[in-house]
């Protein structure tokens, strides 16, 4: 997607050719305009996924292809793009309800769902807070899993629900690295084996960190919800 988009915008804005090489955490672009060529390497940092920006960039490329934007306008509009974020509390609440729905899909009772909502919302707030402080995602995931599992451990200790096991499992589902996992396989299907493997390995590493958090919480509270 990055490759075709960059190539299309380059050709639309008057380049003779655009070649792109993708690596796991850098992009190399070579452009030839008017007999002179230039190659540049850019590092890409992990800043989270913002589909809104993806969409806006795509719109600009389509505009440029249709000939409605020249390269100066394109540049101005591209630089003017601002990533928009949803308010954090809203995301936390919605994620809480999402995990409760997962629990319900796995036949949890209503009190378990309520517990999951609280656990996941609190965990999401912790995750946002830690990510904001620029901790490594691995630490963020482990700490978040610890918090979520600790909250649901109360369901076992005080026997709040008939299905505490489902609650414990569902409360950490906000940490499943879904996008990286799917992108890993779809990259490889499309022939980008390198990026696919690195994304897949990172997704597995994040899941491993999450499991470390879960296991730590389970042994801290002596509640072995995942194994019973």
């Amino acid at each position: 997607m990055i490759e075709t988009l960059s190539r299309r915008v380059g050709l639309a804005l008057g380049a003779e050719y655009v070649e792109i090489a993708l690596m796991a955490n850098a992009v190399t672009v070579a452009v030839r305009i008017g007999g002179r060529s230039k190659a540049t390497v850019r590092r890409n940092e992990d800043r989270g996924i913002n589909m809104g920006v993806v969409m806006e960039v795509q719109r600009l490329v389509l505009e440029a292809e249709a000939g409605r934007l020249n390269h100066i306008q394109y540049r101005d509009q591209l630089l003017a793009l601002k990533p928009r974020h949803y308010p954090r509390w809203l995301v936390a609440i919605v994620v809480g309800f999402s995990c409760a729905c997962f629990a319900r899909l796995n036949h949890a009772d209503w009190s378990a769902c309520a517990l999951v909502t609280i656990a996941s919302a609190v965990a999401m707030i912790v995750r946002q807070r830690l990510a904001h402080l620029h901790f490594s995602p691995l630490i963020v995931f482990a700490a978040t899993a610890f918090v979520a599992t600790s909250v649901t451990a109360f369901g076992f200790i005080y026997e709040l629900s008939a299905t505490p096991k489902v609650a414990m499992a569902a409360s950490v589902l906000l940490l499943v690295p879904g996008y990286p996992l799917i992108n890993a396989v779809s990259d490889m299907v499309k022939g980008y084996i390198n990026t696919g493997i690195s994304r897949g390995a990172y997704a597995l590493l994040l899941s491993g960190a999450t499991c470390a958090g879960i296991v730590a919480a389970m042994s801290a509270w002596k509640v072995w919800g995942w194994l019973s």
Partner: protein
């Protein structure tokens, strides 16, 4: 009764699709697509599972359908289909199986290998792997079948 269960299943799948869409900052006007596609996909898989289709095959069919609808809507919206199709398949991701596999592997190390733990680790690990693969291949189907040398939007 069946219809009621189906509707409940679809409604329960729509919420996580929107939730994870927001997590990835999908713009508000596209969130509706996430919800509808998520509900459709999960509902379709529910029906297929009831009809006795294996879960990987059901997942693959559901993801393929989501992806084709996504491609069609992407041309209307002028946005890449991945903006909303990936959020729509999130409810089908086997998160519990993935974590169960990893936790069991940790337990294999702590408690030593037993038949039960080994079976559980391999079962849930393979299940997670095949379902994720089915999702990704399903999402890639339009590109593999029809949009071979041309971009979707």
């Amino acid at each position: 009764m069946m219809l009621l269960e189906l509707l409940q299943d679809m409604a329960l799948a729509a919420v996580p699709a929107v939730g994870f869409g927001m997590l990835f900052n999908v713009p508000a006007r596209v969130l509706g697509y996430c919800a509808v596609l998520g509900a459709l996909g999960h509902g379709l898989r529910f029906l297929l599972l009831r009809a006795g289709v294996p879960i990987e095959v059901g997942t693959w069919i559901a993801a393929t359908v989501i992806s084709f609808i996504g491609v069609w809507q992407a041309q209307v919206l002028r946005a890449h289909p991945k903006v909303f199709t990936v959020a729509a398949v999130i409810p089908m991701i086997p998160g519990v199986a993935l974590f169960t596999a990893l936790i069991t592997i940790q337990q294999l190390y702590v408690k030593g290998a037993t038949q039960e733990l080994l079976t559980q680790a391999i079962d849930s690990g393979l299940r997670a792997f095949f379902i994720v693969a089915a999702l990704a291949v399903g999402l890639a189907m339009p590109g593999l079948m029809f949009y071979r040398r041309r971009p979707v939007v």
